[in-house]
């Protein structure tokens, strides 16, 4: 039993997750009406991305500015299935070609493109939600990490990929739904996802999946692999010289992060009822990094909370004060990066250890320098801050 709890970061780690579980599954549903709960469910889907970023960026030292790509791929796979189910010949009989999604008909397509065909099957869709983003992440990661491209270069290239995918989706309107995305989704295997009851079920499913992701994240961080990740982040060459295949470790953690993001994307589509390229682009992707940074890049629970709190603040602030939100967001970002590199989780753990001086603080040393490798890649030499 003790070994089991230790695998997830000890008792305190499990207590954190239990508290989160209680808040998400008991307190929130009991105190909010379904419209708001559905919104909360939407924020939680960003938490999946943030958990992935903790592993990949906080522990692996790989900053990906293209997590929106994987979020979007997962979301689009799910949306394609739902759209096909909504486009039965009976429902679309006013179209020139009945039985294909409405936007294809508007763009003069007369038959379903080949890559849409497999999405008639639910089993394939579930497989694709995980496999398509994982494959792309593997491809990108393998190509880059094997050549020891890292740090800044990786960030710029993943960002470029996010931009490319957005332009592609917007440009190929007939195949993808263009800028509007895939909208008007109705049923999942004949079950109407727009009713209040369905929204409750989907919210709970999303919570459970998120809790599993949190547990998986904790497990990875506290495993031997997690320690290797930290070693790799701080002293990549030493890990390589000790005989570990650094590139493979990076590829693995990047694929892991992309799979988490994709699961989040699929739940996003289910709960919100559409998917569009705005959730893929460079801005959306970098916002996901903000969630993670604000919550705490070294704590899966912190990052999940960060995603939830920041996107909640975004919705409520940008509704009432649309001019202020970008300034708040920018200032938050600068503040977190400059003064609280460990985010909310770092603040909480510092404060907690002050309150209970007897307890040994489990927090990581605050002076970590995650980017030794990328600095040398950028062609500059180390410099201490003045």
């Amino acid at each position: 039993m003790q070994r089991l709890t230790k695998a997830f970061g000890g008792t305190s780690g499990l207590i954190q997750i239990a508290v989160i579980a209680a808040i998400l599954m008991i307190v929130l549903p009991a105190t909010t009406e379904i419209f708001r709960l559905n919104l909360f469910g939407k924020y939680l889907t960003y938490a999946f991305v943030a958990v992935g970023l903790v592993l990949c960026w906080g522990y692996g030292g790989i900053l990906s500015l293209g997590q929106g790509v994987f979020f979007g791929l997962g979301g689009y796979c799910m949306a394609m299935f739902l759209k096909l189910e909504a486009s039965t010949p009976e429902a679309t009989k006013i179209q020139t070609t009945p039985g294909i999604p409405d936007f294809m008909d508007w763009n003069q397509l007369t038959e379903l493109p080949w890559f849409w065909e497999p999405f008639h099957s639910f089993a394939f869709t579930v497989f694709a939600v995980v496999a398509v983003p994982a494959f792309f992440a593997w491809l990108i990661g393998y190509a880059m990490f094997k050549r020891r491209v890292g740090g800044v270069y990786f960030a710029i290239i993943t960002q470029a990929i996010a931009v490319i995918l957005t332009i592609l989706i917007v440009g190929q309107q007939g195949y993808t739904g263009g800028i509007n995305g895939i909208t008007d989704l109705r049923t999942l295997l004949g079950w109407d996802i727009r009713t209040d009851g369905a929204k409750y079920v989907l919210y709970y499913a999303c919570c459970i999946a998120l809790l599993l992701c949190l547990l998986a994240g904790k497990f990875i961080i506290n495993s031997r692999f997690g320690r290797l990740l930290i070693a790799m982040r701080d002293q990549e060459d030493r890990v390589r010289f000790s005989g570990y295949d650094v590139a493979n470790m990076k590829v693995f953690v990047f694929v892991m992060a992309s799979v988490f993001a994709a699961i989040g994307g699929a739940f996003f589509t289910l709960q919100v009822g559409f998917m569009s390229p705005t959730f893929i682009g460079a801005v959306a992707s970098i916002e996901m990094v903000v969630f993670c940074a604000v919550g705490g890049r070294l704590s899966v629970v912190g990052a999940a909370c960060g995603a939830f709190i920041v996107s909640w603040a975004k919705t409520s602030l940008s509704d009432s004060f649309p001019q202020i939100w970008p300034v708040v967001m920018g200032a938050l970002f600068i503040g977190v990066v400059m003064f609280f590199p460990r985010g909310l989780a770092g603040l909480v753990s510092d404060y907690g250890s002050k309150l209970m001086p007897g307890r040994k603080s489990r927090s990581k040393p605050s002076t970590h320098k995650p980017d030794t490798a990328s600095r040398s890649a950028a062609g500059t030499t180390p410099q201490e801050p003045a």
């Binding site: 270069y153 200032a331 980017d371 500059t380 030499t381």
Partner: protein
Amino acid sequence: MGDFTAQELTAIFVMQGFSGLSLFCVFLLMALGLAIIFGQMGVINMAHGEFLTLGAYITYLVSYQAAEWGATALTWYFPVAIVAAFIGTFALGYLVERFMIRYLYNRPLDTLLATWGLGLILQQVFRSIFGPREKTVTMPDWLLGSYRATDMIDIPLNGLFILVITLVLTLALFALLYRSRWGIKVRATTQNRGMANAAGINTDRVDRMTFALGCGIAGVAGAAFTTIASTGPTTGSLYIVDTFLVVVFGGAASLLGTVVSAFGIAQSQSILSFFWSGSMAKVFTLLTVVVILMLRPQGLFASKVRR
């Protein structure tokens, strides 16, 4: 392609090539500033596009004032606008380095995030001051019209003008980096910071001036930008991802590489967009660059820097 005669095809290539040259100028003007900030200092400035926008807005203000003063002022305001744009963005860059960037030198990924936050704030400030609508400057008479080389080839004068500015600025930067004392200090700092310090170079000061100069060049780029397009709060950020690719593709610390890659990316995008849709041309160009970067991460012109 069979529908075109050889003469028409040549005309198309020249005209598309020239519109590619305008895009090349925008890329290069923006990339020059980024290249010295990123290439020489290793700092990623995501707010670089906003510095360009600031330069463009300063030019707009100067032209607005010149229009009040009358026709003579309007004819000759542009040189003043360039200087004003340079001073404004240089000063802002100096302050940003002094109060933000220098605390983050050992964390390049964090400079990326912090400057992105700065960019957001600046965009909102622009929106509050100038409004969300795009602003167009009043152009001096001598920039309007076009030069007709043949019956089918028509080259706009403002395109030629921005080309001249780009060339002058590039040459000036080359001279500054490779032919001046300051350039020696910058290159020494890049190549070996410890030794540069030991040789009596104040590297903190060099960093500050390099960053401010990069921002100042973005301001001049913004001034030049106003002659070919109108300015909105998000104008600069539209080009930031492309520009980063330009810099990385060229090889981070190589100015020559930046010039070549800006030319290649802009031309292929422009010429392809005649035969395909604009979005597919862009997708194809960017994808090619990304694939080449995966195969050759050091970029086209690898610099010989001691790692």
